[in-house]
Amino acid sequence: MATSYVYKRDATRLFIAMRDNGDRYKIYLPKESKPIINGEEKDVFFIEHKNNFSSFSMGDATYRCEITQRDQHRIMVKVNGVEYKFSIESIFSYLRRNLLNKGVEVQAGNNLKSPMPGKIVDIFVSEGDLVNEGEPVLRLEAMKMQNEITACCNGVIRKIHVAPGQSIMQDELLVEITSIDE
C-alpha cells in the first residue's frame, strides 16, 4: 500500500463536521499521525486540552479553542472571540442521512466492475473499510497478467461480491463503494 494514501482502513475514525452555512469538514483522525481535513493532511500539533480549552498549533499560529456548548452531536466552539456552531456525524450516520437526502434508495453506490474475464487472486479490503481513490482494492489474474483493480473514489466498502479463487466474467460486479466525496 503506497504511503501517499491519506485514509487508513478504519472508517470509524472519519467524522463530518457541518456548519449551518453549508461548510463541511471531513475530518479523519488517524491513531498515530496528523489529522486529515477535507482530504489533506494538516500539519497540526495538539498542544493540550485543559478544562474546556483545546490548544493547537498550525504553522506559526496557535489556536485556543473553547468548547462553549455541547448538546449530543451539536458542539459550539469559540476561537479568538468568534463562535462557530458544528453538528458532528460519524461517517455511518452521515452516509445514512445523505443517501436519504439524495432521494435514492440504498442501491446507489459506486460499482467496481471487472474489465475482463479472469480469476480473483487477492482481496485487500473488507466490508466497512475506508479506502482512498486510486487505492488497489483487489487483484485479478487474466491472460497470465496480474491486474490491480483500484477504488474509483474515496469511500467506504459497502459490499464485496467476490471471493479469492473465484472466476469472473467481464463487467461482473466486484465491489460496491459508497462514496464520501461530494
Partner: protein, 510 residues
C-alpha cells in the same frame, strides 16, 4: 439431512436476513437489531444465544424468521458483563410471539442470576395477534422478571421504534428509559383507537413521541435525535453504575477537576436574593471534569438529578434549580427526585443534595393534583435511604422544603451551608408580616420599617451562622472549599451501613 451443510446454510440465511434488514431499516434512518448491538457492546464481545429459534406458531415460510424477531445475548461494555435483547422490526414487525418472549425472559433471568445489568432495545409492533394469549403470557413473564430484578440489577430500556399497548409496561418498570425523537413512540392506546373512541385526531408523535415523554409525562429519562447517540448513552450511563446491588460503584482513573474555577463559586450566588443563577454551573465546578450526566433533563426542570463523579467515585446529585420557577418544589419535581433517590439507595450510590428552595409550589392546581401525596414521596424517599447523604445549602432553605431536602433531622449525614444561605421557617418578607404585624401597622413609613425588619431578620434568624450555633447544620463553609469538604465527607461516610427495621416493605404514598 446433511448436517455439515446446515452450518453453511444458516450462515447464509443470517447474511441474507441482515442484508434485507439493512435495506429496510436504513431507509427509515434506523439501524438493524444487530447493528444496534454492535454499537452497544465493545467490539467483538457480543455472544448471541438462541439465534435459530423458530416462531412458536408455524407461519408461511415467505421469509426467514430465525430468532423470532429478537436478538439476545451477552456482551461486554467497557469490559463489564451486560445482557441485552434487541427486537428486530424486520421480522414479522418485531411482534412478540411466545418464542420471542421466552428469549427475552431467558436473558432477564440470566442477568439476574449472574448479577449483570440487563438492557432492552425495543422496536416492536406489539403482541403477535396470531399467537393469541400465548404472547400475552410471554409478556407477563417479562414483567415479572422486571420486578424481580428491580433494585438488584440495573435495567435500562432504549425505545427505538414503536412500543404500544401492554408492551410499554416493561420499560416503564425499568430504571431508565431512553427514547429517540420522531422515530420511537410509547403509548398504551394508539391514535386509531383514540380517534374511534374519543374522536380526537392526534398523531403518533404528538400522543407519545420522544419529546412528549421527555418533557410532559416524564416517562423518558433521555431523548436523542438519533439512534447511535441513544445507544451510546447506555454505555455512558453504565459507566457510573455498579453491576448489581452488591457490587461497589466503579471508580474512574481520571480524577481531574477545574481547580481554577473553584474561586468562582464564591461569586456565583448573587447578592440580590431575587436574582436567579444556574445551579448546573455549580455542579459542573464541584464534580470531576465533565462528569455530570443529567437525567430527566427536560422534565420538571426546577429540580436537577443525575450522576457525577467526585474524586473518581460515582455520586447521585439532587439539586434545586433556582433558574426555573425559583427552584420551588412541585409535583413533578418531587416525583423526579424521589425515584432518583430510591434508585441510588437500591444501588448504594451516595447522594449529594444542593439546596436552594423557597418552598413548595402554592396554588389550587398543585393542591388538587396532590402536592401533598407527591411531596411526601420525596420526603419518604430521603428518610428511607440508608446511603451516605450530604446536603450543601447554597441560598434559601425555608420551612417544609428545608426538612424534605435531606436535612439532618430526617437522617442526612452532613448539612453544610454557604455564607449566602438563609435557613428559616419562612422567608423574611413573609415572616416579618406575621411576627412584626403590630410594629408594621403602627409605622409611619411602612416601607422603610419593612426594609429594616427584613435586614434584622436576615441577620438574626435566617443567618446560617446562627443555625450552626444552634446545631441545625454542621458547618458554614467557604464556597471555594466545598469540593474538598465534600470529598472528605463522603470518604468519612464510605462504610456507612445502616438497615431499616425488618418488614416486607413500607407503604410509600403513591
Amino acid at each position: 439431512m446433511n448436517k455439515r451443510k446446515i452450518f453453511e446454510q444458516r450462515r447464509q440465511f443470517l447474511q441474507e436476513m441482515e442484508e434485507v434488514a439493512v435495506q429496510k431499516q436504513h431507509a427509515k434512518l434506523k439501524l438493524t437489531a444487530r447493528e444496534r448491538l454492535n454499537v452497544l457492546f465493545d467490539e467483538g464481545s457480543f455472544f448471541e444465544l438462541n439465534t435459530f429459534v423458530e416462531p412458536a406458531k408455524a407461519i408461511k415460510k415467505t421469509q426467514n424468521a430465525f430468532g423470532d424477531g429478537v436478538v439476545v445475548g451477552r456482551g461486554l461494555i467497557q469490559g463489564r458483563s451486560v445482557f441485552a435483547y434487541a427486537q428486530d422490526f424486520t421480522v414479522m414487525g418485531g411482534s412478540l410471539g411466545f418464542a420471542h418472549g421466552m428469549k427475552i425472559a431467558k436473558v432477564q433471568e440470566m442477568a439476574l442470576k449472574f448479577g449483570s445489568p440487563c438492557v432492552g432495545l425495543i422496536d416492536s409492533g406489539g403482541a403477535r395477534i396470531q399467537e393469541g394469549i400465548n404472547s400475552l403470557s410471554a409478556y407477563a413473564r417479562i414483567f415479572r422478571n422486571n420486578v424481580s430484578s428491580s433494585g438488584i440489577i440495573p435495567q435500562i430500556s432504549v425505545i427505538l421504534g414503536p412500543s404500544a399497548g401492554g408492551a410499554v409496561y416493561s420499560p416503564a418498570m425499568t430504571d431508565f428509559v431512553i427514547m429517540t425523537n420522531k422515530t420511537s413512540y410509547m403509548f398504551v392506546t394508539g391514535p386509531d383507537v383514540v380517534k374511534e373512541v374519543l374522536n380526537q385526531n392526534i398523531s403518533m408523535d404528538e400522543l407519545g413521541g420522544g419529546n412528549i415523554h421527555a418533557e410532559k409525562s416524564g416517562v423518558a429519562h433521555f431523548v436523542f435525535e438519533d439512534e447511535e447517540h441513544a445507544i451510546i448513552q447506555v454505555r455512558k450511563l453504565l459507566a457510573y453504575l455498579p453491576l448489581n446491588n452488591f457490587d461497589p460503584v466503579p471508580v474512574s482513573m481520571d480524577v481531574s477537576f477545574n481547580a481554577e474555577r473553584q474561586e468562582y463559586l464564591n461569586k456565583i450566588v448573587p447578592d440580590d436574593p431575587n436574582r436567579p443563577y444556574d445551579m448546573k454551573e455549580i455542579i459542573n465546578i464541584l464534580v470531576d471534569n465533565n462528569t455530570f450526566l443529567e437525567i430527566h433533563e427536560k422534565f420538571a426542570q426546577n429540580i436537577l438529578v443525575g450522576f457525577a463523579r467526585l474524586d473518581g467515585k460515582t455520586i447521585g446529585i439532587v439539586a434545586n434549580q433556582p433558574k426555573v420557577m425559583a427552584g420551588t418544589l412541585d409535583i413533578n419535581a418531587s416525583i423526579k427526585g424521589a425515584r432518583f433517590v430510591r434508585f441510588c439507595d437500591s444501588f448504594n450510590i451516595p447522594i449529594l443534595v444542593l439546596e436552594d428552595v423557597p418552598g413548595f409550589m402554592p396554588g389550587s392546581e398543585q393542591e388538587h393534583t396532590g402536592i401533598i401525596r407527591n411531596g411526601a414521596k420525596l420526603l419518604y424517599a430521603f428518610c428511607e435511604a440508608t446511603v451516605p447523604r450530604v446536603t450543601v445549602i447554597t441560598r434559601k432553605a425555608y420551612g417544609g422544603a428545608f426538612i424534605v431536602m435531606n436535612s439532618l433531622g430526617i437522617g442526612g449525614d452532613f448539612n453544610f451551608a454557604w455564607p449566602t444561605a438563609e435557613i428559616a421557617v419562612m422567608g423574611p418578607a413573609g415572616a416579618i408580616k406575621i411576627v412584626n404585624k403590630a410594629e408594621l401597622a403602627a409605622a409611619s413609613d411602612r416601607e422603610a420599617v419593612e426594609k429594616e425588619l427584613v435586614e434584622k431578620y436576615k441577620d438574626e434568624i435566617a443567618n446560617p451562622f446562627k443555625a450552626e450555633e444552634l446545631g441545625m447544620i454542621d458547618d458554614v463553609i467557604k464556597p471555594s472549599k466545598t469540593r474538598q469538604v465534600l470529598i472528605t465527607a463522603f470518604d468519612i461516610l464510605a462504610n456507612k451501613q445502616y438497615s431499616q427495621p425488618e418488614r416486607k416493605h413500607g407503604n410509600i404514598p403513591l
